[in-house]
């Protein structure tokens, strides 16, 4: 009987090789887990143009032209229904006291709830724009609340802080603001 065909050598070891590749890949995934946050692609680029209506009576809305008036700003994307936003309220208050202008963008919110929120948690904002349809949040590349953007005097986004600002982050924020001044 002539020799029956055998499977080629490389084909026999291919599954094991693929499996080893899988193990390596997964170990990287387990031990160096990627950051789950989605960063904005606009860091280092110009702030998008927008002009939001006022979210609170007696307070101006937010026009992005303000952000290019020569002084660095903090833009805080928040909402009354956002629980971590309450956690960061004291830190924002401190930054406001230090003289840093903080502009607010409220996402998918109502005047009534906002007023309640600011009464309970303090009001560090100079202006608050109402982004009720969420479009400006999308234009910024923001994927959730709260997020804080450090914007330099020319309107360029220097840094995006995802999540609430905790006391240990204050140093970092001030550092980025200093960078923005240059």
């Amino acid at each position: 009987m002539t020799d029956t065909p055998k499977a080629p050598r490389w084909a026999l070891w291919l599954p094991l090789a693929l499996f080893l590749g899988f193990v390596v890949l997964v170990m990287i995934g387990l031990y160096h887990p990627a950051d789950r946050n989605i960063s904005s692609g606009l860091v280092g680029k110009a702030m998008p143009q927008f002009d939001l209506p006022p979210a609170l009576p007696g307070r101006p809305g937010l026009d992005s032209k303000i952000l290019a008036n020569g002084k660095p700003h903090l833009v805080n994307v928040f909402a009354s229904w956002c629980i971590p936003c309450r956690v960061e309220a004291p830190q924002l208050g401190e930054l406001a006291k230090a003289g840093i202008p903080i502009e607010g963008i409220s996402v998918r919110d109502t005047t009534e709830n906002l007023q309640g929120f600011l009464e309970q948690n303090g009001d560090p904002f100079q202006r608050v724009g109402a982004d009720d349809d969420g479009k400006v949040q999308l234009a910024l590349g923001s994927s959730g609340v709260p997020e804080t953007y450090v914007v330099d005097g020319k309107g360029t986004i220097v840094y995006q802080h995802i999540g609430e600002i905790r006391p240990e982050h204050l140093g970092l924020i001030l550092e980025k603001l200093n960078e923005a001044k240059q």
């Binding site: 291919l14 904005s40 606009l42 909402a79 009720d132 349809d133 969420g134 949040q137």
Partner: protein, 139 residues
Amino acid sequence: MKRVAFIALALVLVSPAAAQEEQSTAPYAYRQLDDAAKETKAQRLMESLRCLQCQGQSIADSDAPIAGSMRSLVRERIAAGEDPEAIRAWLIERYGDYVSYAPQFTTLTWPLFAVPAVLLLIAFLLLRRRFTRKPEDGQ
């Protein structure tokens, strides 16, 4: 009137103490475009865009308010005549490749497109080797 009171009572019973995220006021979050061809284009694009706050759903399949905002953005822009790929590129500029379920052919994703080609090659090699040996008695 009794019915309204009942509904109100039921809603109050189940709403949590904190404020609720409002659905976006964007007009086209839950409304289709009047032009059927444009709505189809929009629907195809929405099925391939990822909801940013969900665990793994397209914006066409999600009740999350941010997905509603994104749907409205897509519909409004398509109604205005913008090309779906331009809208996708605008979103990718802001959120990276993560936001699109259709991987673009970039330096990062080329293996995804290479793998089917490699598999075709392996399949061909395996089958060729199996079949080119002539059977013992001629065919």
